[in-house]
């Protein structure tokens, strides 16, 4: 069944969408879009490392992204630069360093377009295992830290005062972000991963009135984007990442009609 590359891509994409749905909601709630972007950019370094050391891409990307997250936290403590400047610094320098390293690795043929924008042909059976097992782990951990993470997203001091340990939840969430980037890089490509996190969640925000319903709509939006996007990719021979994100954008635009109604009702 998994012999067909398209079935593999579809199964992989569906697995990714289940995880990006809830994580994406937190990315929006906690205003972490650029943080996600930075981690995704740094993933290129992880990929080059994987090629040089002949190592698994997902694991290598996960390690490098987690390290970049740690470096960011240290820089935030040690420097007086604003957060967005540090994010930009890390995002672009790690992308640049990654590309320079690729330039040196002349003995390996790189599919740069595939790395940046995703390639459904590249999804192997091993990748499916990583996506589904890794994804299940991410969701399990997210479920465990849901209460402190959500409470501290609403109000940090309330969560801290009432004994929920929000700092630990935040640190774990950072690791989960690195993990989702690692497992979705082949599907969506490193330039578009944040889109996969944000756009379905943004669509869901337009349709929902409670955090739970937003998570559910976000998963549904992600699943639809993956399915529509991949069929488009197959039909028109476009890169999988841009096709999925374009489908997500269309869903978001459709959701705007829903929000218009509710604003009218309010006034």
């Amino acid at each position: 069944m998994f012999d067909d590359f398209f079935i593999r891509a579809l199964v992989a994409g569906i697995g990714v969408a289940f995880v990006t749905g809830p994580l994406g909601c937190f990315v929006i709630w906690r205003r972490l879009s650029y943080f996600g972007d930075t981690l995704a950019h740094s993933a290129l370094l992880g990929v080059t490392l994987a090629f040089t050391m002949e190592f698994n891409i997902a694991i290598s990307v996960f390690v490098i992204s987690s390290m970049i997250a740690l470096i960011l936290i240290q820089l935030q403590k040690k420097t007086n630069l604003p957060g967005d400047a540090l994010l930009g610094l890390l995002a672009h320098s790690s992308l640049a360093v990654g590309l320079v390293v690729i330039g040196f690795l002349t003995f390996i043929r790189f599919d740069i377009m595939g790395l940046l924008f995703g390639d459904i042909l590249a999804v192997s059976v091993d990748d499916l295992l990583i996506i589904w097992i890794g994804g299940a782990l991410i969701l399990l951990v997210l479920k465990l830290i849901w209460k402190p993470l959500f409470a501290s997203t609403v109000n940090y001091e309330l969560a801290e005062a009432e004994g929920l340990n929000p700092d630990r939840a935040k640190a774990i969430f950072t690791i989960l972000m690195a993990a989702i980037i690692a497992i979705s890089i082949k599907m969506v490509g490193l330039l578009l991963i944040t889109g996969m996190l944000i756009i379905p969640a943004a669509m869901a925000r337009n349709l929902s009135s409670s955090p739970q319903s937003m998570v559910i709509y976000s998963i549904i939006g992600g699943l639809l984007s993956v399915i529509i996007g991949l069929f488009t990719s197959l039909e028109f021979n476009t890169s999988s990442g841009p096709s999925i994100i374009t489908a997500a954008l269309l869903l978001f635009i459709l959701s705007l009609f829903k929000i218009k109604q509710s604003i009218k009702l309010k006034n």
């Binding site: 609403v154 109000n155 009432e162 929920l164 929902s208 955090p211």
Partner: protein
């Protein structure tokens, strides 16, 4: 003073320094089961900081905090909630603890906002939101309630009713309450112990003791009990950057 088992939280000579400036210094106080301890003092005197020290929100403090319970309900003075979050009152009630429907309904009824249960949190008025905050804090039946100006923005009759409710909760749940209030009238009538702050503890004791205290009079003026909620703060001393106190 009662036995040690009744102590819920105890501050020993606690203080907080931020950018080498003392926000509050040398505060010792304790909150016991069934007792209301009220912090009073002018703006910037370190009331909220003291409450946050007691709650364990600040990590790098001077002195020490001994906290003997984890069942805490907190009503912060300022709360900045991102209104882009889709959050109904009902979701907010379960923010830090999962509660059943009856418990939530009961708490919202007590503070008079049960009709707002399915409303979006961002659609509430200031006073309504304050009532929801209080309902959330009491719904989990905490051992320790920390209320930082819990009735701000609440209408006059509501204010009296809520203070009566706070007193009732303290008696019924026998929980300890650390209250910050500007309403000296309430402070004097409902409180067991008053701590008067002005960057440090000016004086403390029973409401009557404090009212007679000279430092209190200097801080709030002779007619403090008549002025009730509005009062003028006369400085009898200044604070240097190092946190030293100099008499004028």
């Amino acid at each position: 003073m009662s036995t040690d088992q009744n102590i819920l939280v105890k501050l020993n000579d606690a203080g907080l320094q931020l950018n080498s400036k003392w926000l509050v210094k040398g505060v010792s106080l304790q909150v016991e089961k069934g007792k209301i301890v009220t912090l009073i003092g002018p703006n910037g005197s370190g009331k909220s900081t003291t409450a946050k020290i007691a709650l364990g929100i600040y990590k790098k403090i001077d002195g020490s905090v001994e906290k003997y319970t984890n069942k805490v309900g907190y009503v912060p003075q300022k709360i900045s909630i991102d209104w882009t979050l889709p959050l109904r009152v009902n979701d907010f009630m379960m923010l830090t603890e999962s509660l059943n429907k009856e418990t939530i309904d009961e708490a919202l009824s007590l503070t008079g906002v049960i009709h707002l249960k399915d409303k979006n949190l961002g659609d509430l008025s200031g006073g309504e939101f304050q009532r929801v905050l209080l309902a959330r804090a009491i719904s989990k039946k905490p051992d320790l309630l920390v209320l930082d100006e819990p009735v701000q923005g609440v209408d006059f009759t509501g204010e009296i009713a809520l203070y009566e409710l706070i007193k009732k909760i303290s008696d019924e749940l026998s929980c300890g309450i650390l209250l910050i209030s500007h309403d000296l009238h309430t402070v004097m009538s409902a409180t067991d112990h008053v701590v008067c702050l002005n960057g440090h503890v000016c004086c403390s004791g029973s409401p009557m003791d404090v009212a007679k205290n000279n430092e209190y009079k200097a801080l709030f003026g002779e007619q403090a009990s008549q002025i009730l909620s509005r009062y003028q703060h006369k400085h009898d001393h200044i604070h240097t950057d190092e946190g030293e106190i100099k008499k004028n």
